[in-house]
């Protein structure tokens, strides 16, 4: 028998099989409840989920934006000693004692992302936000945020997400958890984080300013590369005015590859009594394309997320615009999916939907070949959500 034949025969050998009931016994041994670390309420997880989502609902975009601020400037799963909690108490009080704020920030985020991703390969991006806080019960909150290719604007009644480059916008009624856009809330969250895992690197009060630097350990996502703030070991710097106790600055660094890299920085903060209402009004072009969930046949509403994922890939594969428009709220995304370069050529695997973090939808794992020149295999999670008027599962992100 030559070596080639021997190896062929070796490869055909399989070890003895277990009795069929063993699998049942193993499944009975799955711990109950299964530990669910990602379901806890944390900015890091919220943002890891928000990375895949965020092409549609403006409400969620604003919430995500708020969480971005939280993720960017707030502490993660760590905690201060009682000493620095006490130090921050007057900062929380004074920072919250204002009617409105105007913020300018820089973040190492990425175009097309809803802020969460720590884009170490990219430059810092400018982000600007205006937040009007209700002074009296019944006063509306208002907020506006501009970043890269998108503007989020909440006028107290509805929220609009406008993407100038794509010439499209999304509208949604409803409020948002604007507490998370509020700088006092950032400091409060730092103050309230649990005690384990935080090291006070510096506490200095001189020259009219207070400065606190905290170090926190990241939660390694191995075998995945660290991508989101909570994945990294990180430092947080809080600076405040000793006379007014108001927050003046916040910076966050992440440690990666032996380097300490700036991830987020509060460049300026203005404390204002109020912001003119015009700031929260968007003048949109007449030819704007409004995105949204279209009316669909009743049978479409009954499709589960996995079925929607399959329909979506198959429709993109055959260039079926009508079906795509029903499944994809963004008009520009429909055009993108119909582009020959972005169309699937072979669907290898569509997995079972799963929930993760605070993302209101689900994720459907997939493995699909795309394009033709050259073809490439993509595996990722399709983000789908059904919190629309029709309660239909629609595309929300996670394509190529």
């Amino acid at each position: 028998m030559n070596e080639k034949e021997l190896k062929r025969r070796l490869r055909a050998i399989r070890e003895p099989a277990p009795p069929p009931e063993l699998r049942t016994r193993l499944e009975q041994g799955i711990p109950d409840p299964v530990r669910r670390p990602e379901t806890r309420w944390s900015p890091e997880r919220m943002w890891s989920m928000a990375r895949l989502g965020g092409l549609t609902a403006a409400l969620v975009v604003i919430v995500a934006a708020a969480w971005w601020l939280a993720a960017g400037f707030l502490s993660g799963p760590a905690g201060p000693s009682a000493a620095f909690a006490a130090v921050l108490e007057p900062v929380v009080q004074a920072t919250g004692d204002t009617g409105a704020v105007h913020l300018v920030m820089r973040m190492r985020t990425r175009d097309g992302e809803d802020f969460s991703f720590v884009n170490l390969a990219g430059d810092l991006q400018n982000v600007e936000a205006w937040v009007q806080w209700p002074r009296l019960p019944g006063d509306p909150a208002r907020a506006r945020m501009e970043k890269g290719d998108r503007i989020y604007c909440f006028d107290g009644e509805e929220t609009i997400l406008y993407k100038p480059r794509r010439g499209e916008a999304f509208r949604r009624a409803g409020a948002f958890d604007f507490d998370l856009l509020w700088p006092a809330a950032w400091v409060k969250t730092i103050q309230n984080t649990p005690a384990e895992g935080v090291e006070v690197v510096t506490h200095d009060e001189s020259g009219g300013r207070g400065r606190l630097v905290l170090h926190e350990k990241g939660c390694s996502p191995e075998p995945l590369e660290p991508s989101f703030l909570g994945d990294f070991d990180r430092d947080t710097e809080v600076i405040w005015d000793l006379a007014t106790h108001r927050l003046l600055g916040l910076r966050r660094w992440v440690y990666h590859g032996g380097e300490r890299r700036l991830f987020a920085e509060l460049v300026s903060i203005e404390y204002l009594p109020e912001i003119a209402a015009e700031r929260f009004h968007l003048d949109l072009p007449d030819d704007i394309r409004w995105g949204g969930v279209l009316q669909a046949p009743p049978e479409m509403a009954s499709l589960g997320p996995r079925e929607v994922a399959i329909h979506l890939f198959e429709a993109a594969q055959r260039g079926d615009r009508i079906t795509l428009e029903l499944l994809v709220p963004s008009p520009s995304m429909v055009s993108f999916l119909l582009d020959e370069r972005n169309r699937p050529t072979q669907i290898v695997f569509i997995g079972e939907p799963f929930h993760a973090g605070q993302y209101p939808g689900v994720y459907v794992p997939y493995k699909v070949w795309f394009g033709k020149d050259p073809p490439f295999l993509k595996q990722h999670n399709l983000a789908l959500r059904n919190d629309n008027d029709q309660h239909r599962w629609v595309f929300d992100g996670g394509w190529i």
Binding site: R11, I13, R14, P16, A17, P18, R25, G29, P223, L377
Partner: protein, 195 residues
């Protein structure tokens, strides 16, 4: 780590119960078979498979980026087996009597008809010395890469390669001797029958 494993690890870390079932479905046959290969009898192999998964649930956070899920499970299984040997647990058996696979499942392996030559190969594998047999079995029967086999056995991939090379050489030698003996025996029978 394969893309499929990457997704599975992600799901496991997020507490997706179905992912735990996937890990069982995908690998429990391999774990059980490997334990049998190491020398556990059927009852001990069942026990140790359950202990391997129980340990895996506790250690899901320790899974390193460089390890595949299969090799990670095999490493745990191997440690469980060695502990059982050290503890003097009953139920260790030689690998000479390993049965054929009872339920090969769907796929081409299920349609393989074992020829006499296949049986000879299996018997010859069982006669290999332990380290050679283990490296060979992990690579060929469990479809682990040289690097993954090295991770399970705690040795460099180069050492795995040389062990497998030696194992193949030994097998060829054993099989050639066996075929020569058979040929001689067949010839003698033919001559005896003719006369």
């Amino acid at each position: 780590m394969t893309p499929r494993d990457t997704i599975l690890v992600w799901r496991l870390r997020s507490g997706d119960r179905e992912a735990y079932r996937d890990l069982i479905r995908s690998h429990h046959q391999g774990v059980y078979g490997y334990l049998r290969r190491l020398g556990a009898d059927a009852f001990l192999a069942e026990d140790l498979t359950q202990e391997t998964y129980a340990r895996a649930w506790q250690r899901i956070e320790t899974l390193r980026k460089s390890a595949s899920l299969r090799s990670w499970l095999m490493t745990i299984a191997r440690n469980e087996y060695l502990q059982s040997v050290r503890a003097g647990r009953q139920g260790t058996a030689g690998t000479e009597e390993l049965p054929e696979m009872r339920d090969p499942g769907p796929g081409p392996e299920g349609e393989v008809v074992l020829t006499e030559r296949d049986r000879r190969v299996r018997r010859a594998v069982a006669q290999l010395e332990g380290p050679l047999q283990e490296a060979l079995a992990l690579h060929y029967f469990q479809d682990l890469s040289l690097r993954e086999v090295g991770a399970v056995l705690g040795i460099p991939a180069g050492t795995v390669k040389s062990r497998i090379h030696r194992a193949i050489g030994c097998l060829r030698k054993m099989l050639e001797e066996k075929e020569t003996d058979d040929e001689r025996e067949g010839t003698e029978k033919a001559i005896a029958g003719h006369s």
